[in-house]
Symmetry: C2
Subunit: 143 residues, 2 copies
DNA sequence: TATTGTTATACTCTATAACTATA
DNA sequence: TATAGTTATAGAGTATAACAATA
């Protein structure tokens, strides 16, 4: 056991921690991790399969099943794309919007609790640096 | 599009970023994410199924298959536990140790690159706060 | 009785390759 | 020809429930 954790180890631990919270909150909303990620991404606007595939980092063929199951559960719908008859837009249903809202609120609360113990100044510095680091990362939550 | 990302959104983005790196480096070492996590956890010492299950956050029954596949690939072995004839210890093989080393070195390099753009002082403050936040989190990398 | 680990089963997630329809 | 999306197939990962062996 080292006395001081390396920066890399700390980053991995934080990731594990947040990922576990993400999965737990998802389970509480009856959403798998993959479903929660998809709803978060669709929260911005209806999205085509190819773009959604790139944002989530899964193959288009994998996304087909993911959307199938979510559609079957009433969380999303496929809409025809008026500009391109090959394409579809995946959009949140009202039920999907509700699920996303619950998931988002609950996760935000839990994540903010991770930081509540810190002194205000240290917390502000931390989140400031965090923003710099992730400035170019994909938008997968609420942005 | 907000001008300022919330702390929660930033945390989720960072997690997504690190998780993607983790998966990419794993793929480069011919390891799935679950396998890489298991090897990292076993890097400390041989571990029983129940304890490993708790550390990784998966059911014991799920772990059985995970260990089966890793054992079949020559990464780990099940060893009898001298103190308890019900139990087994899962231990890294030489091949598993090599794979873990490669994975660990490569991931550490990539993670440190996330921080290299920051001024030294800001980086030190950030990693200091990070250590405080994850102090109680499970050890899943190199500790 | 409680705990350790496995088996049986079912489902989600994922990728690769081949395919259809439209641009 | 290239792109959007699906289908077919195979495998990994996961959970729940029931089980055997040992503590």
């Amino acid at each position: 056991m080292e006395e001081t954790l390396s920066a890399a180890s700390s980053l991995v631990r934080l990731t594990h921690l947040v990922h576990t919270l993400y999965a737990d909150v998802g389970r509480g909303c009856d959403l798998t991790t993959a479903q929660a990620q998809m709803l978060c991404s669709l929260g911005n606007r209806p999205t085509g399969m190819a773009e959604l595939s790139a944002t989530l980092g899964v193959e288009r063929s994998s996304l087909t099943g993911l959307v199938d199951r979510a559609e079957h559960r009433g969380l999303v719908v496929r809409q025809p794309d008026a500009q391109d008859r090959r394409a579809v837009k995946v959009a949140l249903t009202d039920e999907g919007t509700d699920a996303l809202q619950r998931f988002h609120d609950e996760l935000t609360k839990k994540l903010e609790q991770l930081l509540t113990e810190l002194p205000a100044k240290e917390r502000d510095q931390f989140t400031g640096t965090l923003r710099r680091i992730v400035a170019d990362a994909p938008a997968v939550f609420a942005d």
